[in-house]
Amino acid sequence: MSPRPDAAARLRRLLTVIPWIVDHQGSALSEVAARFGMSVPELERDLELVPFCGLPPYSPDRLIDCEIVDGRVFLRFAEYFARPLRLSPSEGFALLAAGRGLLAVPGADPGGSLARALDKLAGVLGGADGMAVEWAPARFLEPLRQAAAAAERVEIDYYAFGRDALTTRRIDPHAVFAAAGQWYVDGWCHRAGDERLFRVDRVRDVRPTGEHFEVAGPGAAAPTSVFHPGADDLRVTLLLPPEARWVVETYPTESVDTRPDGRLRVVLVASERPWLERLLLRLGPATEVVAPDEARVAASSAARRLLARYLGGSPPCP
């Protein structure tokens, strides 16, 4: 059970429920409770208090009149609470972000009831055309969503970014979701014999197998963190110059300390060597690899490997 709401939370609820009842006299308590996400006893407890509210001198004609007849509720003399409180900036923002976000999912109906609702909100919130939610393009999003919805096993070509390799595998797609701006498919990978998370933009092809899989219970909530470091993964300690702060903002870190000279000492997890090479190459000589030796060597040997291509490879174009 959630903790008992405090006076602020109850007042907020009351100022929302009263206007609705005023507008829908004789509604069933059970319906009102369901609509406002509360239990009937909770609603009754709030309504018990309403007859003591009103205006001075708090004579019967100045108090709100609340009657419950056969489980139906009537409110009179509550004209000052005829409308709900306006949306706060956070509420307006959350509603529009969710609405724009869902409309931006491929396959959404741009002329449907959600779009109409957002248009109406735009009038109240002073223009919603200024908010855009963009999900990363993912070519195979729709076939994967369809496969997940129909519990169809599929074969995918997948670019394993960390290992810099193209792979083919059969998966049972359990859920498709967006987190941190990217689309992911969470599913059972028959090649790994384990549950795996795949980035949909790295899926290069999807082919049907004609097989179905058993759906195991209700889908899990969309995770907000998609990286789960393993205990055996390499921990790399770096000293980053201040302009390389983006690393901390982009990748999960195990620790971050700012040094007196302004550099950042960070520990991050590198599960695959190509991933680490890519990061260290991009950071370049201004970043110091503190530990381990393996990581220190990774940067310079990758740099020499690429350099060989420039010095001995194909000649530059004129």
């Binding site: 100022l15 409308r83 855009a132």
Partner: protein
Amino acid sequence: MRFHYSMADRLERLTNLVAVLLETRRALTVEEIGDRVPGYPEEPDSYRRQFERDKATLREIGVPISLESLYAFDQESGYRIHRSDYELPALDLTEDERVALHLAVTAVSLEGGEGRAALLKLGGLVGDPAAPLAALPSVPALPTLFDAYRRRARATFRFRGEERRLDPYGIVFRNGHWYAVGHDPDREATRAFRADRIEGPVALGPVGTFERPGGFDPSSALRDDPWRFGDEQPVTAEILVHPPQAVWVAADLGEEAVAERRDDGSVVLRMAVTNREAFRSFVLGLLDHAEVLGPPTLRDEMVAFLRELGAQGVPQGDR
């Protein structure tokens, strides 16, 4: 003489306080409020404390209480709630539209978001919730930036240690981050700020102080390719990308970037570069699959960069 109620608990008192402040035609002094709302203590100091606490609670849930003069040119001030500030304007949502909003708020969750509270004000939760489909990060600066956008108020905040000002024309979520896009009056140019890099609170100037240009599209104003995000002398770079990466990189950069398709499946791509560091970072991110072909200055820079990095970490005496 104050009213006393045996059953007057705090919730009742707060409800009456809202009703009284909504109904009054002029601002009420603190003393007058105490006379009209039952349930406050008699003792002036503790009454004052309780009233301040109630006022803070009302503001916390978004009740707009204004402090103003009792009468024109009057020194004495008091409190009231203007109906026009308080009430949600009529939206005339249909039940279908409420169902759609309920689905949206449950499918796309804004971390710590107030979407559900908003739905209640719009007439409650109708229909079934959706399965979670997408998560949006939440950033403390966002609601205020959004408020600045919709009320056309100038936003002031600290960004990378500097005080910056922005007339926000829109809010965009891209690549997993929220951006505020608008006009920077100090730089006299369109600028985008990543909202999670804003340090501390955002202050709002007076409402309605700028106009959004007609047809402004925040999405297209937010430049994407980082190598075009700079003020350097523009250079057209050519890179060679090997298969199988060639296909995907070409798809990402667009057909217009393709200068040549070779028989071995590799492609030559042209990129307009105004930020060489970001360009180098992009090419290196492709590891062994890509190479800078030209112009010679960019290729030489890449070689010098790799040489310096390659010389690091080589044990002494090894070369």
